[in-house]
Symmetry: C2
Amino acid sequence: MGGRVAFWFEFASTYSYLSAMRIERMAAHAGVAIDWHPFLLGPIFQAQGWDSSPFNIYPAKGRYMWRDMERICAQRDLPFHKPDPFPQNGLLAARLVLAAQSGDQHADQIGALVRTIYQAQFVRQQDISATDTLGDCLNGVGLPVHLLDLAQSDAVKSRLHQQVERAIAHDIFGAPSFVASKDLFWGDDRLEQALATAGSGATPV
Amino acid sequence: MGGRVAFWFEFASTYSYLSAMRIERMAAHAGVAIDWHPFLLGPIFQAQGWDSSPFNIYPAKGRYMWRDMERICAQRDLPFHKPDPFPQNGLLAARLVLAAQSGDQHADQIGALVRTIYQAQFVRQQDISATDTLGDCLNGVGLPVHLLDLAQSDAVKSRLHQQVERAIAHDIFGAPSFVASKDLFWGDDRLEQALATAGSGATPV
């Protein structure tokens, strides 16, 4: 016990929503601490020649993803609506989480902030690139609205660039991804395995 | 109970190996009958502009897949070796399974034949495009070697073409895939859900 898991999430990612809604509860149960890592898939997808979500580029894969999400959300009693357009632009939301992570005073509210932004998108069908939406999210979890100004500072913009570089250095190619004991796990389906690895402090193989 | 699951598998597919090795046992436990559907991913991948496995085209995804397979096989106590080259050519093996499915007299041995071909590739590191390898597989499960001649008949070649067309009609884009109660499930991670759907005779949502 006492391990850590790095949770790499992209706000536009449907499967990241699944993990965001359950990781804090599950990690607490496993005695594992979470490092929250917002990042952007866009630059990673562009580097491999994709100009949109693979779920848009490959239609059969896209149709399957929406059906798969519908089934999983029904099983987990999670509300879920398809955003229009998809994918949403998660740039400002990612910067906002990084702004809230500046200093340690908001560390206990990061999980709640991340969840309410995902819910704004997939439950309340709001535009998460809009400052109004994100301001409401901050208010909802008791965080100061001035974090939105910090989110648009050069320092935070630069930190998000660095996050993408770090994701690439970890060989991350999709979201959600988890890093535990230096081992990479991809997809909400691997959250249990990542937490077990983090909890044991060693790779399972 | 008394439902059916269609198991769509491609012999070159690593994750199809995972499902092939456990589906018969799990389906029996769930009281579900299996329809075995060998098919080829090559034509489906080519239609979306891929000339090889996505695990070769996207290197980070490929490195992840080999690590993921290593971990899962260790957990399940399954031997697993990376074929060289990857992907292997599963054309003749797919035709052979269709040949063995001509008529009903070998219906009880299809699962064993499929498993031993996957083991030839991923355990014994043999070339599954070679008639010698496939002849040994037939011998190993007590099936007549003359099925190899039938596998190369025009009738069976045409049946494999039809299989690919049927896969596309089911919106299948990867392997393994499962169809239960007309609902599509993709990936070894969804085998449990597909069997539960088949067993209940209804879609879960």
